[in-house]
């Protein structure tokens, strides 16, 4: 991958990630996250992970982010106060984050010898066929367990988001009235 492609793309990716953290409007945060995920998908293409790149755009930038945007618009949030009213604590958080970034970069850079290109990849590396053979071969049990996990997640999401839940909130006096007026559902 040429530096002329990598560095601008990495800049856009990091700027979008900063936008997720720093913007006051949750919708803008979500759109920044879509942009960051899209940049990552482009990196995946250059790293010969074509199926993963396609899944990244379809599952993440498509389905998951649409879910986020639905919830944000459903809650009808006004812009909140961004980083909050305690800038000192945010400053500590940013310093700790910079420290984590520095130590991670140092550790990961020393893990790879500079200039080493690793092995020569076969022509079929990263194709759907190879990945599917591995998923349905070596990782078959994990794959089936994942399907069970998705089923549990679907059932859990429906139970949690159901409107007439029987859990008790703080406004216990308001709950019976709300339940009775929405009984037809």
């Amino acid at each position: 991958m040429s530096p002329l492609v990598f560095y601008p793309l990495a800049f856009v990716c990091i700027a979008s990630a900063m936008g997720v953290v720093l913007s006051k409007n949750p919708v803008r945060s979500a759109l920044c996250l879509v942009s960051a995920l899209f940049c990552l998908a482009i990196f995946y293409v250059f790293l010969q992970a074509h199926l993963v790149a396609a899944l990244q755009i379809i599952v993440y930038a498509g389905a998951v982010m649409v879910l986020f945007l639905f919830v944000i618009t459903l809650l009808n949030l006004e812009s909140d106060r961004g980083l909050g009213e305690r800038p000192a604590l945010s400053g500590i958080g940013f310093c700790a984050g910079a420290f984590v970034a520095a130590s991670l970069v140092a550790a990961l850079s020393s893990a790879v010898a500079p200039g080493s290109r690793g092995v020569v990849l076969p022509q079929t590396f990263g194709t759907t066929k190879v990945l599917a053979r591995q998923l349905f071969g070596d990782y078959l049990v994990a794959f089936e367990l994942t399907s069970v996990l998705l089923l549990v997640a679907v059932v859990g999401a429906v139970v949690l988001a159901k409107r007439d839940g029987s859990y008790e909130g703080d406004e216990q006096d308001a709950a019976p009235a709300r339940q009775s007026e929405e009984a037809p559902h």
């Binding site: 997720v20 949750p26 909140d80 970034a101 690793g118 590396f125 999401a157 703080d170």
Partner: protein, 100 residues
Amino acid sequence: MIGTAHFLALSAVLFSIGAVGAVVRRNVIIIFMSIELMLNAANLAFVAGSNSLGSMNGQSIVFFVMTVAAAEAAVGLAVILALFRNRQTVAADEIALLKW
């Protein structure tokens, strides 16, 4: 020439940005997006390692991480909806019911 170390460094930076976002923001939805960002940084490291080692295992694990992240997003957003319905807020510091 861009090597594996560059991708790993980018992944570290993205992970740190996500960690900072999960710590400093009050909005539960933004915290959630920061967690997604951290998962994606880990995915980038997996794909870069897979490319450098010539092994498909990294890409298979990315597949599983994506599935778990999608399930987590569905359940987590349902929790946020239930929370907002009960407390009328998504600010993390106002949700202190379990705080001693």
